[in-house]
């Protein structure tokens, strides 16, 4: 879902930077407050893992493929959507500048879609489902899936405003492909990783359940 520079006029690309920047700024503030020496290795491992998994396109049929984004996964592990914004911003910077994967002027839009929208929606859906007593595996799956799906719809709307996509056909195509990518690439992998962490390192997920924000729901 990496928008290239040619898909959006510069003036609009700047607007998405203006929207994305406060989230990036707040993600740094989050790190200043929450990140300590013991958690830096977790952040580094997740950043490396997400860069690698984004190179692994999974076929979804219809001559199309897709890959995981990972913002929801990072947000669930750290118990804050800002962790997802921070990691996705770093990943998109390296992908854009080193590998020409995603544009430079449109990076603000890509950070907004993949870091902010998929991370926030994925995380808060996960928290809401946990509060209604759904299992951690199911909650992670649905949250991650919904986050990816809605970020693809947002991307389609941005493409419409940019004059690149027609509205209805753009929403239909982006929605259809990412509905499936969200199941396979985002939901399934997020659910597997979160379940594995819950079994091997339940302490890592403490923040996801015990913070006041998530209603103090315990695992």
């Amino acid at each position: 879902m990496h928008i290239p520079d040619s898909f959006m006029p510069l003036s609009q690309a700047m607007i998405y930077w203006v929207i994305a920047l406060p989230f990036i700024f707040m993600s740094v503030k989050w790190a200043r407050k929450e990140l300590d020496d013991t958690k830096v290795p977790i952040l580094a491992a997740l950043a490396a893992g997400i860069f690698a998994i984004q190179a692994l396109n999974i076929p979804i049929g219809m001559g199309t493929s897709g890959h995981m984004i990972g913002a929801a996964l990072v947000a669930i592990i750290f118990g804050s959507p800002f962790a997802g914004v921070l990691v996705l911003t770093l990943v998109l910077l390296v992908q854009g500048f080193v590998f020409a994967d995603g544009g430079i002027t449109v990076m603000g839009a890509n950070i907004l879609n993949m870091g902010v929208i998929s991370g926030f929606l994925g995380y808060y859906t996960f928290v809401a489902l946990r509060k209604s007593k759904l299992s951690i595996t199911i909650s992670a799956f649905i949250g991650a899936w919904l986050g990816l799906f809605v970020s693809a719809l947002a991307c389609a709307v941005e493409m419409y405003i940019a004059g690149t996509f027609p509205l209805a056909a753009g929403l239909t195509a982006m929605g259809l492909y990412h509905l499936i990518i969200g199941f396979v690439g985002e939901g399934l992998i997020t659910a597997i990783v979160i379940t594995a962490i819950q079994k091997s390192r339940p302490d890592l997920l403490d923040n996801s359940f015990l913070s006041a924000e998530s209603g103090g729901v315990t695992a």
Partner: protein, 102 residues
């Protein structure tokens, strides 16, 4: 207590690096070559002339390793590119984490 957690988090880091490197090495061989969701959608909804014009636009920034490929080095080049990117990501996130942490 904190020492045990710190040690366990280092184990998480090593496991994470191992998984990330494994994916990086395998990706060029097993990843689908089909266009991704956004690209595929753009072929569906943008007419050919406009699409061709957009694809021919000069990049805003000349990336050193466009499309995770090193010219003339095939799959080996792709493995080197993705492994390098993964290691770069590891170092960047570690350094940024150390710099901004509380």
């Amino acid at each position: 207590m904190s020492e045990i957690m710190s040690e366990n988090n280092m184990k998480f880091l090593y496991a994470g690096i191992a998984i990330a490197l494994l994916i990086s090495v395998l990706a060029p061989f097993i990843a689908s070559q089909d266009p991704d969701g956004l690209e595929s959608a753009s072929y569906d909804v943008i007419d050919e002339v406009k699409m061709a014009a957009m694809e021919e636009m000069d990049p805003v920034f000349e990336s050193p390793v466009p499309d995770y490929a090193i010219e003339g080095h095939g799959k080996t080049g792709e493995v080197v590119a993705i492994v390098s990117g993964t290691l770069m990501m590891l170092v960047i996130a570690f350094v940024i984490g150390k710099l901004v942490k509380k």
